[in-house]
């Protein structure tokens, strides 16, 4: 898995590329921990280039959403489609996260 970090309108944008499985999930977790250490951080995770997500990946996203709630951060996902979207749907995750259709909408939602 590759992680690319960018910043737009005060929002930290993380592009997750490849597979988010049990070996790659800790990498995302560490990055999110670092980014959310800032009080009231604004974070957007773009999953448009994600090929695969396993239960380990979902757990990391859940933990990140919980941390965002506790610390007043904004945490948004975008670019969920195809097989990944089906996994979100089957796992009951579509309603749990703040999800934007496009990167631009995601930045706007995270920026608030």
């Amino acid at each position: 898995m590759d992680l690319r970090q960018d910043s737009k309108e005060g929002v930290v944008v993380l592009d997750v590329i490849g597979r988010m499985d049990s070996s790659a999930a800790p990498l995302l977790q560490d990055r999110l921990t670092a980014v959310m250490a800032e009080p009231r951080a604004r974070v957007l995770i773009d999953l448009a280039k994600l090929d695969y997500i396993s239960s380990a990946g979902f757990r990391i996203l859940l933990l990140a959403a919980k941390r965002a709630d506790e610390t007043g951060c904004r945490f948004v996902l975008c670019g969920i489609s195809g097989r990944v979207r089906q996994l979100f749907d089957v796992g009951g995750f579509l309603e749990l996260f703040s999800i934007a259709e496009t990167r631009e909408e995601g930045v706007a939602a995270a920026a608030g």
Binding site: R19, D21, S54, S55, A56, R59, R83, L87, V90
Partner: protein, 568 residues
């Protein structure tokens, strides 16, 4: 069954009479484009204008009966969906050949026989899947599209043995008609886009009139004809020829495949929770489609087949109710008694008819390509498609290749549709030799490589010609299950993966010495998932169970085995 959000009236819902009639008019408007086909066949047989007009009338009667049979389920007939028949290019191609070689009696006799074949095929659709996989189905549709385009060019530019007879004015009419249809389809909206072919034809007629392309005799005949009259069955007779039946048999297969696709599309359009095709309604729909063609042949009309355009119109308007069939049938029957309608199509300038065929062919060609590539392709399937395409196109470009055969067979083998399909069928059967139905992989404990698991199933799926979406689900289950077993089941030795496939089932079995993998039926809570890796493993088990159609776990003497079953 859940009604999708974009549907206003689902198949089994009643609707106000006004909306039903308006929908019926829209559908008939769309169907009327194809009334040029009986005229083309009549012309190919050298028939008179009156016979051509009568053929149009009886085509309308056949369509009316076919609509009721297909859309309103009666006894064993009918899918119950708004995918009513139209005169079809599938039967146009062989009908033109038959008309030239044996006249209209041969067309009607072979059409009747083709309808009977369709009815027989409808009873064995499931068993035909290994013989008619999507690459063959797509090839047939592709060849129908190519043949339609070639016929369109021949008609538009009057291309014959002596070369091209069309003059500059004809070429201008062809291009203007095609430009109008194309422009409206690309940039038009609403009704303009929906009826782009009808409007384009009207543009062609208008330009032809301005250029004086209508003979005075044609206009006199049109104005002198009765407004209302009973069509005359006097021209109807039936003949049969075994060799000439081959292209009609190929057309019957193509028609069966088309109705199968259309009913499947209608099922999806009516049910937001659609998972897989309901073969019962598909089989009933194919039977009704075949009966419609039998009736058409019996009445002196060309073969008819379920309309993809009708399915598209229903989806676009959100009106999917089967009760629209009644006004459609009523309007069609009324039009059958208007001889001027048939004559109107008879006097259609050749460039206008040709342009309509060329325009239609484009969508059929692309549809064929989409069907062909809907499954994973390996070298076997690539060769089946490639060699069949080359064979089919060769006889169109170099007719001399079949000139040595008997004259009856020449007419049959000299079309890309027949030769290409026969080559495809033969190669498909030949290349099934050596395909192993089971693939096996060993996953060592110390080197878990998800990419290699993906590639294993991708290769197997391509060799089997499995559906892409089923292989995608299987890939997730394979990788997620092994990931979870390695992390949570303490396997004491390598994992063995066995993948087995037949046309209806894909089974993935993962076996290993170790503790069984839990596959809970209920989703763990978010708190459970976040609390520990055990929660994460429970989520994995839940997803694995939901993604497969059936799961089975066994644990005997320290050895565990999980079977994921996917219906194909």
């Amino acid at each position: 069954m859940k009604k999708p959000l974009n549907v206003v009236y689902a198949a089994d819902e009643r609707l106000p009479a006004g909306i039903a009639v308006l929908s019926g008019l829209q559908h008939v408007g769309l169907m009327s484009i194809y009334l040029v086909y009986p005229v083309l066949i009549a012309r190919a047989a050298g028939s008179t204008a009156e016979i051509a007009a009568a053929m149009v009338s009886f085509t309308l009667v056949a369509l009316a009966v076919g609509t009721i049979l297909q859309v309103i389920p009666i006894g064993p007939f009918g899918s119950g969906y708004l995918c009513q028949p139209i005169p079809t290019v599938v039967y146009l191609v062989p009908s033109l050949v038959a008309a030239k070689h044996g006249g209209l009696p041969l067309v009607f006799g072979l059409t009747l026989a083709a309808g009977l074949l369709e009815m027989a095929l409808s009873r064995v659709l499931q068993r035909l899947r290994p013989v008619l996989p999507p690459e063959i189905a797509g090839l047939v549709v592709l060849f129908v599209g190519i043949a339609t385009g070639v016929i369109g060019l021949r008609v538009a530019f009057e291309i014959g043995e002596q070369g091209m007879a069309a003059g500059p004015a004809d070429i201008m009419i062809t291009l203007a008609t095609l430009a109008a249809m194309t422009g409206l389809n690309v940039w038009g909206r609403g009704a303009a886009r929906l009826f782009c072919v009808l409007i384009g034809m009207a543009v062609g007629y208008a330009i032809a009139a301005v250029l004086g392309r209508f003979h005075a005799s044609e206009l006199t005949m049109l104005s002198a004809s009765a407004v209302v009259a009973l069509p005359d069955l006097g021209y109807v007779d039936w003949q049969f020829d075994a060799a000439m039946f081959i292209p009609f048999a190929v057309a019957a297969v193509a028609a069966t495949l088309k109705i199968t696709g259309n009913v499947t599309t209608c099922q999806k359009a009516n049910d937001a929770e659609w998972v897989r095709p309901d073969m019962r309604s598909i089989s009933r729909g194919a039977l009704a489609d075949g009966v419609g063609t039998v009736i058409a042949g019996g009445l002196g009309a060309p073969g008819i087949n379920s309309s993809t355009a009708a399915v598209g119109l229903a989806s676009a308007t959100g009106v999917l109710s089967r009760h629209v069939a009644y006004p459609i049938a009523a309007i069609l029957l009324l039009l059958a008694f208007l001889p001027k309608l048939g004559l109107f199509f008879y006097v259609m300038p050749r460039p206008v008819a040709g342009a309509a065929l060329i325009f239609s062919s484009t969508f059929i060609v692309v549809n064929g390509m989409e069907i062909m590539t809907s499954r994973l392709l390996d070298s076997r399937k690539t060769l089946v498609i490639g060699l069949s395409l080359v064979a089919g196109l060769a006889v169109e470009v170099y007719p001399v290749l079949v000139r040595g055969s008997a004259s009856g067979l020449q007419a049959v083998l000299g079309t890309s549709l027949v030769l290409g399909t026969l080559v495809g069928l033969a190669l498909n059967l030949l290349f099934r030799i050596g395909i192993r139905r089971t693939g096996t992989l060993t996953v060592p404990l110390d080197s878990f490589d998800p990419e290699s698991l993906d590639q294993f199933l991708e290769r197997q799926g391509a060799a089997w010609g499995a559906r892409r979406d089923v292989i995608e689900r299987a890939r997730f289950n394979l990788v997620q299950s092994i990931e979870t077993i390695l992390a949570g089941c303490d396997p004491q030795g390598p994992l063995r993966v066995d993948a087995t496939f037949d046309e209806f089932n894909l089974d993935i079995r993962v076996s290993y010495p170790g503790a069984p993998l839990a596959l809970p039926a209920t989703r763990p809570t978010n708190e459970e998932i976040m609390a520990s890796e055990a929660g994460q493993h429970a989520l994995a088990g839940f997803l694995l169970r939901r993604f497969a159609d059936r799961v089975q776990c066994t644990h005997v003497a320290g050895h565990s085995s999980i079977l994921f079953h996917f219906e194909h």
